[in-house]
Amino acid sequence: MLTIRRILLVLFKEIFFSLMLLFGVSIVIFNILYFSPGDPFSHLLSGQLTDVSARENVVNALGLPSSISGQFFSWLVNVLQGNLGTSLRTGKPVLDEILLLGSNTLFLTIGSLLVALLISLPIAIFSALKTSSFFVWPLTIIAYVLSAIPLFWLGYIVIYISTEYFGVFPIQLGFAASKTNETIIILLPVLVLGIASGAISEMVRYIREELTRVLNEDYIRTAKAKGASIWRHAFIEGLLMPITIVLTNKVPFILGGAIIVEQIFNRPGLGRMAWQAAQDRDFPVIMGITLAAAILVRLAFLLQRMIFMLAIPPHQINRK
């Protein structure tokens, strides 16, 4: 009972802080957009309406507030009503597009985090347990080498190998492609992003250090001496917490990598959408995606807090 109340309290606090943070993020991004060179109109007009007054006429015709604060607040009021606006490029509602493509990016992000974890976890555990083993060093090197592979390079190589040696073109072509290799098409980008996003080495290092530290704690030694399972005691502090921390910390980086992977594997997603929008100065889309990304990162952080609260009894926190 007490736990639920505590969780709710923290949840509300977090949501409040998140809203403040989102507000801050949107102000910063809006200012960057406003003061960066180029505006959506010069893109829409493509240099055709060459006259300055003609440009102003268009802005007036569209009914845009002229001041930066006016523009920001009209955007904010709309967002508070759940309206992220429409894309200047396609005229489609931004929210619909984000929800449509967001699931693709979410799948890619979560999937590749799992891939990175699946590779790094065994290495981390092995090297924490068998510190004196001959294999620790080569395994660590492998983790670092994998992390050092440039994402775009691995993407091309994977596509090349897949087409030349396995006869599979690993790119989603809904209408044109035969449905047989759908699984490969979905999994390859996830694998590439998981391997080459640079997360593996950090995951190995962090989890190994934490696990080694915990395994050397007195209570583990006592448990070991009594013949109890060390995992029952070391699991939460030595594995669950470091994994949660390192996973949530990696979310922003993986999101960044998703842009590249989505470009190369031609997958529709938020990354590609953001890239296109930045080129077109499609302000509503850029703002929308930034908010979505910030929310995603915050959600990951919130999840981490929740896991911690459930995992560690309150009296332990108080003790620390």
Binding site: S36, P37, L62, G91
Partner: protein, 536 residues
């Protein structure tokens, strides 16, 4: 001599190829199949008014029609208009429209009939202040449109224009399908769900953003042979090329020059050159006193080996140019030869202009070094462009000119060049329509923010020639003036003119009877067909 003989041979081959194709398949065998083509991304919209990118332009060619069209032989042919009459003063154009044209089925499920009201509505929408369209400036010469009868419409021009009929190729949109019949913005659902009269309509857009076009059985020009066109957006050119080589797609609309040698070796793939009315150049800011001397600009042109650059960076897929028109254009003056690569002459010109080499091996005049910035836009992953720019820098360094290259993001570059005119040298490419109108590039009236004479070139004599060429209604006279303009601007060197690159479309050889319009691309696609045994 060799250069002159080659086109004739190519022509012969093309004729032979076309003849063998036609004879091989009967009319009924040609129907069917789907053509998957790779595009450089998603189209912004699918309507011909608010769309402003090449992807949209190509797609609207499948979806819509103009009053008149341009045939493969560059002749004006009937499309939505059956016949036309132009008054003697050249200011009143009356079109009699076809009465058998149906619009594609819209959201109401009804195929409405095309009438003169649609023509008038299209023009009015185009000119409405709330409509943002690049077309507006091009049709300002039209005063008003009047519907005479259900299938008859008259355009009144403000002034007679040369080749007026060719301007009526703009695409007609249906009045009934617009949310607001007076203007069109991108939040109108029409721009994503277009209703046209063309040989294809959009059947579906998939989650992966592929656009699937379906043949229009009721097309007034006869049902097209190929059942489906499928546009697949690619974010990466290397991957698109790989997809073509791997048979996953059947056509790439424009091949990156880098990939040409690779595709040339592939027997299943046809590389088809098509002429693009465009050229690349280095432009100079004449407000900089160092660059206002034309000897300096000419020296720069002499100092760079353009032939070598074209050869090593673009596999020789292009033509060197000598003046301000695209070589495919009727206005181009072949008698003016491109400047040779001659660094000795370049040095002489610079010393004549008063420059002397200082101890750091940089030219200077009155104690001021000849050190200039060069602003280059970062185009979508274009390595060739970077090499051109670095080669330019290297060549000029050899004659004692220091160039500081700055790569700028596209919008930032546009503001630096066109708005603030904050540059010494810039690199860019112009793309023309077939009017060969260069008035906005070099006329002194076009100096100012967001205007095309960004270098501030001002010459009363050139101004006069440009105005004369623009006003004359006599094609031959215009051609003569343009040839003269070409010669004089080559001498004046406000730009260092570089080259026109040849565009190549690449397609699987199962696709037959392919004819391509230089920039609209799909104009003749209703006659393309796929060989029966290789359809998927």
């Amino acid at each position: 001599m060799i250069g002159k003989r080659r086109p004739a041979m190519q022509l012969f081959l093309v004729v032979l190829l076309a003849w063998s194709n036609v004879s091989a398949f009967t009319e009924s065998e040609r129907y069917g199949g789907a053509l998957n083509y790779g595009e450089y991304g998603r189209a912004s919209t699918f309507d011909p008014i608010t769309g402003n990118d090449m992807i949209t332009l190509r797609m609207t060619e499948l979806l819509f029609n103009g009053l008149v069209g341009i045939s493969e032989k560059q002749e004006i042919v009937s499309e939505l208009a059956k016949s036309w009459k132009i008054t003697d003063n050249g200011q009143v154009y009356t079109f009699v429209l076809r009465d058998d044209v149906l619009w594609h089925k819209g959201s109401d499920g009804i195929a409405h009939r095309f009438t003169a009201d649609d023509v008038k509505a299209t023009f009015d929408v185009m000119m409405h202040p709330k409509t943002i369209t690049p077309l507006k400036v091009r049709y300002e010469f039209i005063d008003k449109v009047k519907v005479i009868a259900k299938y008859k419409v008259t355009f009144y021009l403000k002034r007679p224009v040369l080749n007026g009929l060719a301007k009526f190729t703009f695409k007609i949109i249906p009045r009934h399908a617009l949310r607001n019949p007076e203007y069109l913005t991108r939040d109108d659902p029409f721009v994503q769900h277009p209703v046209g009269t063309g040989p294809y309509y959009i059947k579906k857009i998939t989650a992966a953003n592929e656009v699937i076009f379906q043949a229009n059985d009721k097309y007034f020009g006869g049902r097209p042979y190929i059942d489906n066109f499928v546009a697949l957006p690619f974010a990466d050119q290397n991957v698109m090329n790989q997809a073509l080589a791997f048979n996953t797609i059947d056509m790439v609309v424009q091949v990156n020059p880098r990939h040409i040698p690779e595709l040339q070796g592939d027997k299943r793939i046809v590389l088809k050159p098509y002429n693009a009315l465009s050229y690349a150049f280095f432009g100079y800011n004449l407000r900089n006193p160092l660059l206002s001397d034309k000897r300096v600009r000419k020296a720069f042109a002499l100092a760079i080996n353009r032939k070598e650059m074209l050869k090593s960076f673009f596999n020789d897929q292009g033509t060197l140019i000598s003046g301000p028109f695209a070589p495919g254009s009727w206005a181009y003056n072949l008698d003016v030869k491109p400047l040779p690569f001659d660094q000795r002459q370049a040095r002489e010109l610079l010393s004549e202009a008063g420059f002397q080499m200082n101890s750091r091996r940089i030219l200077e005049k009155y104690g001021k070094e000849l050190s200039l910035n060069l602003k280059v836009p970062i185009a979508k992953e274009n390595e060739a462009l970077k090499r051109v720019v670095l080669a330019f820098k290297g060549y000029l360094r050899r004659i004692g000119v220091k160039i500081n290259v700055q790569f700028l993001e596209w919008q930032a570059w546009k503001e630096a060049i066109f708005l603030r005119q904050d540059f010494d040298i810039m690199f860019a490419q112009w793309v023309f329509d077939d009017s060969a109108d260069i008035s906005s590039l070099f006329h002194s009236g076009e100096i100012g923010p967001w205007k095309n004479n960004f270098g501030g070139y001002s010459n009363a004599h050139i101004d006069r020639l440009i105005t004369e060429a623009k006003l004359t209604l006599d094609h031959e006279k215009r051609r003569t003036i343009n040839r003269r303009l070409h010669r004089e601007l080559a001498e004046e060197a406000p730009y260092t003119f570089l080259w026109t690159l040849t565009n190549y479309a690449a397609y699987n050889k199962k696709l037959r009877r392919v004819a391509i319009h230089p920039y609209k691309f799909f104009s003749y696609s209703n006659k393309w067909f796929l060989t029966p045994d290789e359809r998927n």
